[in-house]
Symmetry: C2
Subunit: 340 residues, 2 copies
């Protein structure tokens, strides 16, 4: 019998339809290698720095060469210039597209994915995320700094060279706004963090846990929208990813690498999206409207990993209604039991 | 300069990023023809009726052959058997997957799309939608009847033979629930329909209108999430698609055919999703909870057509934040000016 499950954070129902029975092998997707021409014109490779907009920030390898490099997006969806201009258009509302859109090139090596890098190098990528979030937050026009990664063509990447995007927006994205509201209501009633409560239940149940260590837990959420969806949470309550110290980021790098390796082995290197949900940029900043200066200490930052292995887009987009053919308990078991 | 636009119905912001400049030709997608083997095993073709579950309802061509045929989905995401069972799972909530999942085979002809059928035949397909909605509404366990069409592999169709799906769910899908709430709040303040107000503005502005006749208007919404997204509304206020009479459905068939032809010509026969947003199944029915027996007379039914020409899934799924590279004014102009 299929089952409907409610996501208490996103406040939506998901159909878990196990009878459609999809196991990891059904999803195996091996990405094609780049052609020689694509490799020879890759703007993210060393020696072709002139093909990207100028470097915003750079982290070097100790020998004077860059190891992680941040540049502006050449085709930005939002622009950093100008004052934020809100106005009505008849009964509609608009604002101009002020924001920022950056690219973090994760490695000089064209052929390595994030998962292939040594733990120290991954930690440096995470440090770059933190640095960009903290830097962009100084701009008071911006409400949210979104760090996300599209890995592979199926996940929407237009270049295969490993990179992450940072988008700073004058609004908080809808899913984050819903999560913030859920966390706040839960805290107001119970004086406990909604995420901490869920993690405690997940640890007790165990069936949806993929990996747990002293600092982090990765699990497949109870109402997962997608097969093999994974969320990583810090076990100690913390509302801000960008408040993590170097030691924690290094331990996150270790944890993340293992979790991505499990996904790649189980699913044959699928394309995936990776998103950091952290507190809004307005945190602790007094904004023009008091509403926005509300603290989000009841919030718990996390990372979402969404393998892009199913193609059921339009229906879900049109309805907000998800059908997931792989129960998260089965997905977690496959991911736990994989041979690394 | 890119622009952020607010959707007053879905209550979300969309980035209209015209500088990424995508015109119809950038999206041209010509579907591949089926192989002979696929054609020879198609379960929706006449003579292979034994390959589908039994016929639920059938509309004939006047000569004793079926022209439109309704069957149960062979791999249903929800099942019609059993009582609805709601329960808690720790702090989570679940219910069993009671519902219905049907398929409407639109034509016996393997090679024709909905758009290729004569207007009278399209009207018969729309009549089948209406009949299924009205029939399934009698089941008091069900809250919503969702009619949707995935056309083409890029839109999630697993069979190319023209068909529509009907899913009856024990909950109202999230996007419909948000729309219902927006319409109700607007009505409570203004005693006018939110959708009627928007349509009046669209007719006055004109720039986003694709086609208008005495009964229907098709426009590209102000805060379109996707390039060339189109919505069809009846011009006279009506909350229930399934309350439409035969004359209106025939005029809708005529309107729909032209709008789909414009899309196909402009974009080279893209895959697309098609969704009917009508009032909940509980309309006018006294349910166990009074909340659900509230009438939705302030609601305005409509059809959404979403061409599947961009692949930016994961990011949007993870954030609820859409980036649309084609301003709806440009999309509407292309669709209006296309030579038919």
């Amino acid at each position: 019998m299929p089952e409907l499950r409610h996501d208490p954070i996103q406040r939506r129902w998901v159909i878990i339809s196990s009878e459609r029975g999809r196991r990891p092998l059904d999803f195996h997707a091996n990405g094609e290698a780049d052609s020689e021409a694509t490799r020879k014109s890759c703007p993210f490779c060393p020696g072709r720095e002139h093909l990207t907009p100028k470097t915003i920030q750079s982290f070097d390898d100790g020998d004077g060469n860059w190891r992680v490099r941040v540049v502006a997006n050449r085709f930005p969806a939002l622009r950093i210039e100008g004052e934020l201009d809100r106005k009505a258009a008849g009964q509609f509302d608009r604002m101009n597209g002020v924001g920022a859109h950056e690219v973090i090139i994760e490695t000089p090596d064209h052929d390595k994915g994030l998962v292939d890098l040594p733990v120290d190098h991954i930690a440096q990528v995470l440090t770059a995320y933190k640095a960009r979030i903290n830097d962009l937050r100084k701009d008071t026009r911006l409400r949210y700094i979104l760090v996300f990664k599209n890995a592979g063509a199926s996940a929407g990447a237009s270049l295969s060279h490993a990179h992450t995007q940072v988008m700073a927006t004058p609004i908080t994205p809808r899913t984050v706004a819903v999560e913030l509201a859920s966390a706040k209501e839960h805290y107001q009633v119970k004086e406990r963090c909604l995420f901490c409560d869920i993690l405690a239940q997940e640890l007790e149940t165990g069936t949806r846990v993929v990996k747990v260590d002293d600092d982090f837990i990765t699990h497949c959420p109870y109402a997962s929208r997608f097969p093999f969806e994974m969320h990583i949470h810090p076990r100690s309550h913390a509302h801000d990813f960008a408040g993590s110290d170097d030691g924690l980021l290094r331990r996150l790098a270790f944890h993340l690498k293992e979790v991505l390796r499990r996904m790649n082995t189980a699913l044959g290197n699928p394309g995936y999206n990776f998103l950091i949900h952290t507190c809004p940029a307005t945190e602790g900043r007094v904004h023009r409207s008091n509403y926005w200066s509300t603290l989000a200490l009841d919030w718990h930052w996390h990372i979402e990993i969404l393998p892009r292995i199913t193609n059921v887009a339009g229906f879900e987009w049109g309805t907000g209604f998800y059908i997931n053919p792989t129960p998260p308990e089965e997905a977690a078991r496959f991911l736990r039991e994989v041979d690394l």
